[in-house]
Symmetry: C2
Subunit: 136 residues, 2 copies
Amino acid sequence: MTSKQEFVEKLRNSSLRPTKQRINICEVLFNRDKTFHFTINDLFNLIKDKTGEKVSLATVYNTVHAFHKKGYLKEIPINSNQTYFDTNVTDHHHFFDVKEEKLIDLKNEDVGPIEIQKSIPGKKIKSVEVLVKLED
Amino acid sequence: MTSKQEFVEKLRNSSLRPTKQRINICEVLFNRDKTFHFTINDLFNLIKDKTGEKVSLATVYNTVHAFHKKGYLKEIPINSNQTYFDTNVTDHHHFFDVKEEKLIDLKNEDVGPIEIQKSIPGKKIKSVEVLVKLED
DNA sequence: TTCCTTGTTTATAATTATTCTAAAGAAGAT
DNA sequence: ATCTTCTTTAGAATAATTATAAACAAGGAA
């Protein structure tokens, strides 16, 4: 359980003003035991449900992008019409259940080391992501 | 160099009628040495350039989806506003140059074996894709 | 051939996710 | 309090994709 005050500090430390909306979004995103996978629309609906307060869709977009930029959220590369985010920003991978459109975390140790043995001149590796698609 | 007749047969074998439009699309997609990464819009523009004939955008969508369904094209999981496809349908991976929005093939042997040591009850693995993002 | 059925193409409209805009409101500093 | 800057918001704009339904073409049968 993270207190509201901690979110206020987190936001201040990131030079993001601690507004009511952002704190509500923090509650929904970060006040959890497990990692959380979501689309903007998921989040938009959850905010109303969990906090009882409505935050405009534009603000949800703004805030998610701000948090992503600050490194508090990770974008998951996946083929979907919607963009998926993850509150687990550590280096890890995903299962994607195609039928249920659901993501499941895959720990690094469940995949083993991945050694990329090719390099592109002038470029460096920013991230390595494994996506394992699941079917029935 | 693949002849037009071969495309006609390929289409017939897939119970797709060999129309002028589909054959043109085949020429652009499959008459190449190297693997080809593209978005629908890339392809739409290339058809005009390479064949001199215009195919409607809707037909490009229809055909790409039909070819994807038949297994002649692979969809690449990536976070982009556009969907990327690949004419290389073998099991392999990708670099994505984030700045230039360009994909580069990564052979399986350049990545090494990936062993997924977690399983989800009732589900089986459909595909394993590695995406390596590149930055300058 | 000619006719018939079914599949295909097409322009255009509809849909959907996301971004933009500009005005009103709130936070923080002085 | 006042001022500046950041934030929120509704709604408009954009862009990719999908749906629609009418015209058209392919393939088969007579």
